[in-house]
Assembly symmetry: C2
Homo-oligomer: 112 residues x 2
């Protein structure tokens, strides 16, 4: 496996499933996205993230957290709140965000 | 919004979060992936999916289901079982699969 996969602690734990379509004018988006990804790693309860974006600007990022309180705390973090504001006003044509409780998981293939 | 976003029924509902890294020799993968995506839409309890893959072959697909029984039924579906076997043997360098219960969700930006 490579480092684009998140750790898998024993369930239950929590996920934020964020799907988004970038607008045609996402000025400043890339730099802010990198900063937010780095900042998230410093937050209490953070486990990891898996993220990918295709050439049309459609992306999915799933971040994993030990509990829902950690997710609420991250949502309210000041720099992150500013990023969310920019996202709504300029960067995203559309997004969905779902908070989910991981019940079970597995990985593979065996030995890889 | 565009048609790459899934419907959002009232929570709770369930998600299968599938992250995967394609191998360098995914012969037959694209055709099978398209067939499985179509077949899933015919399964009981299916809600929708959101999926994206980047130029390195790292992908995330999240499919949404009304209940866990529907997810188990889809996992056991014969053609899908064959696809999973090919995935383990040939297509994927690594994958993680997590089953999660959606607790809450929202979408935006408002009006878009």
């Amino acid at each position: 496996m490579n480092d684009r996969f998140s750790d898998m602690p024993d369930p239950p734990y929590y996920a934020v499933i964020f799907a988004n379509q970038l607008s045609n004018t996402p000025d400043g988006y890339g730099e802010m996205a990198d900063r937010m990804a780095d900042l998230a790693t410093t937050m209490p309860g953070y486990i990891g993230r898996e993220s990918t974006r295709d050439e049309t600007g459609f992306a999915m990022t799933v971040s994993y957290w030990h509990d829902e309180a950690s997710i609420a705390n991250w949502k309210a973090q000041a720099q992150h709140a500013l990023a969310q504001k920019n996202g709504k006003e300029r960067w995203y044509d559309h997004y969905t965000l779902r908070v989910a409780r991981i019940e079970r998981h597995y990985s593979g293939p065996e030995g890889r």
